[in-house]
């Protein structure tokens, strides 16, 4: 078996060397297809990331009843903080709110002395972990009793949620389509190298090579082409993403650029593995078709 494996590998490299042009076409095709695929994956990751970040900035605001003391308000704050799903609670006392209000509007609006007394309640700005938790948290806070009103933007949350799911569903379908298109291109490219070697296949079959034996060199050839193509797309994508991310981060600092090193490594590795898989399947399908024609 070892000598066979050696033979297959030698044959695969021999074919690669002889068909430099076709091999290059196959490598470039795989590299370009996988780069587009990877770029798209990164785009989706970034969109999800932005949507996720924006959603997580969504707060709800709870207004207490007018006559709540500061001590009681402190106790309520602790209760809110302990509610499930609550990430952060920020307390603004009625005095602070009034001061801020007067600062903001005092000079511009004539209050006409109508409001000497502070009409504002204490407020809690509450941040929850995911947008889905907002209604739940709002209900729980209302149930605490001394809260007059809870406000949050339900419509915006729904819109965000549907955007996230649209990006996910659309992304998955597009990735599936792209993978299929890439496979077709790769199969057809490798098929050209198989067609160029039809005489070889005919002779191999004639002198008594089994189908398995004929297939292996092509499968290994596909694997090598896929590995090179996948490697190229990995390098292209890694360096271009890093430079784009750096520039974007500098130009638009508020934009959350996706930079999860583990996830990025998974994406890059998937390009390499995807390349090898594409080459392997491409080689297998191509040579199997050629053998079927041979009879």
């Amino acid at each position: 078996m070892f000598s066979s494996l050696e033979f297959f590998t030698i044959e695969a490299f021999r074919s690669l060397r002889r068909g430099t042009l076709m091999s290059s076409v196959a490598v470039v095709t795989i590299a370009v297809s996988l780069s587009i695929f990877g770029a798209f994956l990164l785009l989706i990751m970034n969109l999800s990331n932005i949507v996720g970040t924006v959603s997580s900035r969504l707060d709800l605001v709870a207004y207490t009843s007018q006559n709540l003391s500061l001590e009681d308000a402190g106790a309520i704050q602790i209760k809110i903080a302990k509610l499930p799903g609550v990430e952060h609670v920020e307390f603004t006392s009625k005095a602070e709110a009034w001061k801020k209000f007067k600062e903001d509007f005092g000079g511009k609006v004539d209050l006409g002395g109508a409001l000497h007394d502070n009409p504002l309640p204490h407020t809690f700005a509450v941040r929850v972990r995911t947008p889905e938790l907002l209604p739940v948290a709002a209900k729980a806070i209302s149930d605490l009793g001394v809260i007059d009103e809870v406000r949050y933007s339900g419509k915006l949350i729904d819109r965000m949620k549907s955007l996230v799911s649209a990006v996910r569903v659309g992304g998955i379908s597009l990735i599936a389509l792209l993978s299929f298109a890439t496979l077709l291109i790769v199969v057809n490219t490798i098929r050209l190298t198989v067609i160029a070697r039809e005489t070889d296949i005919y002779i191999m079959k004639l002198v008594g090579a089994t189908n398995t034996f004929v297939k292996w060199p092509f499968i290994i050839e596909g694997l090598i082409l896929g590995l090179i193509g996948g490697g190229a797309s990995f390098l292209i994508l890694k360096f271009s993403y890093e430079s784009v991310a750096a520039r974007l981060g500098a130009a638009l600092p508020f934009l959350p650029v996706f930079n999860d090193q583990f996830a990025l490594t998974v994406i890059y590795a998937s390009l390499l593995i995807g390349g090898m898989g594409l080459g392997l399947i491409g080689g297998y399908i191509s040579v199997s078709r050629a053998l079927k024609n041979e009879g």
């Binding site: 000598s3 066979s4 033979f7 002889r18 005489t199 070889d200 005919y202 002779i203 191999m204 079959k205 004639l206 002198v207 008594g208 090579a209 089994t210 189908n211 034996f213 004929v214 009879g295």
Partner: protein
């Protein structure tokens, strides 16, 4: 060794290539298959190494009905049949040695055996000194010798030659036939399909004649035509 019983071959296009052929070729025989172009010589050969299947009848090679052989068994049949072509079918990017060794490689033979057997085959056909040449660098006769070396490198009990002298001049053709005769004397059954009248007449071997897919003559010590 080879037995055809009521063999008929009709191609999907409707062409009636062979019709009710009955033929027995014994072990180590030397047979000429003659007839004009389109008489069915090549089709008959292809039936023997299962490049084609008969429409009806039995094709028995070495006690096995080739017509009913499972596809995964065909490679093992072919290892027992050497085939020589008019157009040689050598792989152009490989040296003569590699071409011959290739036939052994694909059977998974160990490297030491490959080298020894390939050298022996090249020596038998007188091509040892051209082992490292490429097919393009050789004359027609040399190419045919290389093709024969490839066909016999596995020591097959049967050697089929389809118009082996079709592209060769008379002297070279005669040399090739001498070589096939030599291989026959090394206990190999040899079947030669040919148009070459002078060679058939000179060799005086068994002659089987086909005409429009029918076997019209089977004669020991025969001539090209009656």
């Amino acid at each position: 060794m080879i037995e055809l019983k009521g063999v008929t071959k009709v191609f999907p296009s409707g062409i009636d290539a062979l019709h009710d052929i009955n033929l027995t070729i014994g072990k180590e025989e030397f047979v000429f298959l003659v007839g004009s172009s389109g008489a069915g010589k090549t089709t008959l050969m292809k039936l023997l190494y299962r490049e084609e299947k008969p429409t009806a009848g039995k094709v028995v090679v070495d006690r096995v009905n080739v017509a009913e052989l499972a596809p995964d068994q065909v490679p093992y049949l072919r290892r027992n049949i050497g085939v020589v072509f008019q157009d040689f079918k050598l792989l152009p990017k490989r040296t003569i040695y590699e071409n011959v060794a290739f036939a052994l490689r694909v059977t998974g033979a160990p490297r030491s055996t490959i080298r020894r057997k390939a050298m022996q085959a090249l020596e038998l056909v007188g091509m040892l000194r051209r082992a490292n040449s490429f097919p393009d660098e050789l004359s027609g006769g040399e190419k045919q010798r290389a093709c024969i070396a490839r066909a016999i490198v596995n020591n097959p009990p049967i050697l089929l030659a389809d118009e082996p002298t079709g592209n060769l001049d008379p002297t070279t053709s005669w040399d090739i036939l001498q070589l096939l005769d030599k291989i026959n004397k090394r206990n190999t059954t040899v079947v030669v399909a040919t148009h070459n009248k002078s060679i058939v007449d000179e060799m005086k071997r068994r002659v089987v004649e086909l005409e429009e897919g029918r076997l019209v003559r089977d004669q020991q010590l025969g001539m090209y035509s009656v």
